[in-house]
Subunit: 321 residues, 2 copies
């Protein structure tokens, strides 16, 4: 009993330190959230009222398009404007290593000694909880810690990754000239979610052609009054990054508040669903013994039962308990 | 009442036609499954006993690595061996177009007039249901329809995509020399799941270097007695594809039955969880009025409540009803 009480106190203290913006508290809080459990929920309840004030910028692009390098270059320019920055890099899941740390990410870590910049690489391992919950919780932690800008970096493929990034206030889509596949891939679902396009590696000879193509596509599929801005960058050299920041500033000040509210509510709705789903799985795990679960799986494997009938039975049991 | 009865009959007839391998019945069945609902569940219950006999081959690689072109070249060689083939291409979600149809996929469609080859491109739109459920159900339909080989093609990134493909009987990972990012990305989580590596676009000058690097990595991380085979292909010309088929044959005949059983059970377990989750969401949708849900979202948005407390309350309501 004593121990639980102490734990509760620790969680309260953590929430307090977090709200002051302490980097160690942020790191601890995100770890707590990743490991889930009752303590994480209690902390999240404490800090939730302090969240919701930051600008969320989603950054997405194919592997190798230079997302992390671009973010790395954006940090000093945002800092010069006095902004506190949080970065959440959503990594493809690795079942074995527990998450990717790519070279660029490591390079970006040089900013991590800076108390105003917090960088966290989150592995999307497992599927319990869901990406909306994980990302939403990390954003909430960074918001409660007083970050002005939160950059959420994801790969431009994968169902949940796309869903999550498109709920940011502003979405940056990075394309790289000379990799014809990009345009094709992006046409399929990413094009429509961009608030600004970055043509990175714009020192490639294909750049002008790709820019023309992109603008032609944008004009064809015009659904807004204004055409989506396109910025050319060479992230490795910092070229064009200041212009990108100016465009972001413009987008923020002229932002469609209605649209942002809709997106934020959608993220909340999705998070809520993930949290409910998570709670229900925990109920399942508590109430249905692993041995019973395995027995059902075995019967389904042997084709003695089908998963639909088993699911119906288990749902009834969960509801009846 | 009459109408429901007729619908039931239609579903029964569909299941019967499907088991005979009728391509139109397969297409209808997968559409039914995609649209979900009671009819889909009834059909799945009917056909489930006929599934579980096929070899499932997962094929994964970065965008542009040539997955579809390779599959396109594998089809005639597998057909020559008298195999019936089903192909499920899992696409990144497009919230606007409802799924990607890439050029390569369209090219592959030339096989779709062949009654022994069934190709289906599945969009992973929305997240209700989950990728395991969607893919698992499409596989079940193709198995029940008597396909010998089922090729499941996914992008090598994205949390669920990786999870699903690694539950195939045999996993082919495609790398392309000359795109340094690949190796880096793949090291992070895909390397370990490969049963065979394909170095596609092997007419690139970097091929030999990449092959040496790959083999060095494989030797370092050796956890099996035999080293994972590496095949060099130029999918656009068909080069190396026959060798790949030979290796697949070898892998199938020397397959670790225990491992395959474990994977199949894991897929069942995951599918079961998705189906349960799906059912519970339907309960939520039935019992919690949209207006009440929106009211909660609004309160969370205004920071008057937090999503964790709301989730606890809703879960209690669902259980209590």
């Amino acid at each position: 009993m004593k121990k639980i009480h102490n734990r509760q106190e620790t969680v309260n203290t953590l929430a307090q330190e977090l709200i002051k913006g302490d980097p160690r508290a942020i790191a601890k809080a995100i770890t707590l959230v990743e490991n889930d459990g009752r303590q994480a929920r209690e902390m999240m309840k404490d800090i939730y009222p302090y969240s919701g004030q930051s600008v969320i910028v989603g950054i997405t692009g194919a592997p190798g398009s230079g997302k992390s390098t671009l973010v790395d270059q954006m940090i000093p320019l945002l800092k010069k404007k006095g902004k506190k920055i949080g970065i959440v890099a959503v990594d493809p899941s690795s079942p074995f290593t527990g998450g990717a740390i790519l070279g660029d990410r490591i390079r970006m870590m040089r900013h991590s000694v800076d108390p105003d910049v917090f960088i966290r690489s989150m592995a999307t391992r497992g599927h319990l909880g869901g990406l909306a919950k994980t990302t939403g919780e990390a954003i909430t932690v960074l918001e409660a810690a007083g970050k002005d800008f939160i950059l959420v970096e994801t790969l431009g493929v994968g169902q949940d990754e796309v869903e999550v990034v498109k709920l940011a206030d502003i979405v940056i889509v990075i394309l790289t000239p000379g990799t014809g596949d990009d345009i094709q891939i992006f046409k399929a679902g990413i094009m429509e979610i961009a608030d600004v396009f970055v043509l990175n590696k714009a020192d490639s000879p294909d750049t002008d052609k790709v820019e023309r193509q992109l603008k032609a596509i944008l004009q064809l599929s015009l659904r807004k009054e204004e055409i989506t801005p396109v910025v050319k960058t060479v992230a490795t050299k910092g070229t064009g990054v200041a212009q990108l920041i100016d465009i972001l500033d413009n987008l923020i000040s002229s932002a469609n508040k209605q649209q942002q509210e809709t997106r934020k509510k959608k993220l909340i709705s999705w998070m809520l669903r993930d949290i409910i789903s998570d709670r229900i799985y925990q109920e399942i795990a508590k109430r249905i013994l692993a041995s019973v679960w395995d027995e059902f799986v075995e019967k389904i494997y042997r084709r003695e039962m089908d998963p639909y009938s088993v699911a119906e039975r288990l749902v009834k049991e969960i509801k009846g308990s």
